[in-house]
Amino acid sequence: MLENYELSPGEKKFIGWHLVFGILALSIGSLFGPLQAFEHAGLDLYPYLQPLFKSYYQGLTLHGVLNALVFTTFFITGFLTLTVTYGLTRPLRYPKLNAVGFWMMVVGLVTTAVPLLMDEASVLYTFYPPMQAHWSFYLGLTLVVVGSWVEGWGFYYTYYAWRQENKGVRTPFISFSSLITMVMWQIATLGIAAEILTMLLPWSLGWIDGADPQLARTYFWFTGHPLVYFWLLPAYISWYGMLPKQAGGKLFSDSLARLAFWLFLLLSVPLGFHHQFVDPGVPAGWKFLHAILTYSVFLPSMLTAFTVVASLEYAGRQRGGKGLLGWIRALPWDDPSVTAQLLAAILFVFGGIGGLTNASYNVNLVIHNTAWVPGHFHLTVASAVTMSFMGISYWLIPYLTGKKLWKPKWAVIQSWIWFVGMIIFSNAMHVVGLLGAPRRTPLGLAPYIPEEWNGHLLRVGIGGAIMFVGMYLYVFIVAKTAFAKHAEPATVEIPVAEAMHDPQETPDWLDRWVPWLIGTVALILVAYGPQLIDQIANISLTSPGFKVW
């Protein structure tokens, strides 16, 4: 039935607009990446950007907010609109509701961008108080988040309508996993909503005199870590639900894929203290509990590793791959979408290892706030996630526009360029971080740099330069495809992988929401409740705002 289903031109356009805003944000935000990397290597270009961009930190804030918050949120809501409707083979139940959500996000984006560009909000994408941005920055972020919620509600209505028409049928995997992603996001963002609405917004408007920086950190990281899974799960949807088909195989295990997603819902939120291991205002016992919970969310990723690799091995063998590892070569490495996602997964191996290190309680003392951390998350959000989204867009943009991808060979090369640049960059960042180099610091200006860091900082610059080429080659290819006047028409079939076993055989408890939702809320109450109550009960709004950039 999937083969016959086609999105309406209006739906395609709607999803396309998500991509336009997302990729536009990415192409502006990425301008600053090489500026930071070159600065580390000893070449500071910021003085030449005056008075357009005032400081390293204005650039770094734009880089983080536009790439990690705006690009991801727009791309994800657009992609999930496709996976929900195409998977359920029915249009959105209330398309106007989703449109309202989308335009709220756009208004939010503009509201955030203005103070950012005016250097009134150079507070980085964690915006820790008592550093204080202009109130419009907080308001804009709120609108982006609430807009994404509204789009999520549109998905739920659509699912409910489908369920009424299809009782007893297993929810198709790509829709099922998209809905879980959205539910997880809506629970997770309650933290940032509380932070902004009860503290930062009234404080920046002058309605209250002070903020409580410790409580703000607790609220922020309630959202901050699951945010990582909000980025990652759409990539997993593609790796489980689409990549096997693109590679010429099948999803190895439908039931374990679903179990992994339930575990992500259950475990993504109650572990935020692992970002606060060295915070002064959180008891060590709670930190240890969250360390253990973070270890447990590593399990669904280990499940994912097996299921995805096994699905790929099956595909490679179907394509004639022989021997223990010969199937890897047999995969369609000439398909830019496949190559991007395979390379994304390879880089994610190291992202996962670094993540487990960060989460390991006292081991965090070695790397906390060092260059290791951005080295790590460039392997996750800027590799596993961004490369997968690039790979997805290599079929999605032709699908939406009906135009053939401009020079697929160049798209393959693009992935390899990003991959090589990222290896050099992230390795250097990890190593120099272990040696003690701080993150978020223009190291070219730091008076305390030991000689032994210099070689690594040079590699940061080299890696950054290569990634710069990779990024703008991507932007060029997708723009060239989307805006071509005389492109060859493309007939793209949305890749949806069949499972090896009929999903109808998947146990019923893997398609039921209520018990999993109850478990999720209960676990959050156990892991966060007592500390939240304690910190809120002892709130001290003593910090006035500072503008120190």
Partner: protein, 161 residues
Amino acid sequence: MTTKQSMHIDPYEKNWIRLSIGLLVMFAAAVAVAGFALGIQVPTSEQRVDPKTVAEVGPWANPGLRELSPGKYEAYVLAQTWQFMPREMTVPAGSEITFYITSKDVQHGFKLQDTNLNVQIVPGQVSKLTITIDEPGEYTYICTEYCGLAHAAMFGKLIVE
């Protein structure tokens, strides 16, 4: 629907899940040993202060070292944009130093290079950790959290003689 339902876990995958759990338990044990047997700990909640007055009244009005007994010190460090008070401290090798660090303005970080002392500094809170340094030398402490334009210039020195 009459389809037979079952979990269908491939035997290879079953073993992989076992291995994964075993691996995570092993790592957790290693972390617990380092934390609770060897005593490599993270900070815990200590005390609250008022960031508006902390530089005028109390121990941070006069930041620096206090010798409690021979070889045993307390170090009161005040972070502010964009310097640490004090900028330099000297202790004999083998000293045990308990750091009490807070901020009078924005958030900062305190990382004593080549040691495990690495904490977030949050206004209104006190970051406390105790270390012992045996090896003589100059140890740099740097600010590791973005605290404004001159963040990169914020550092100090602990001299161990």
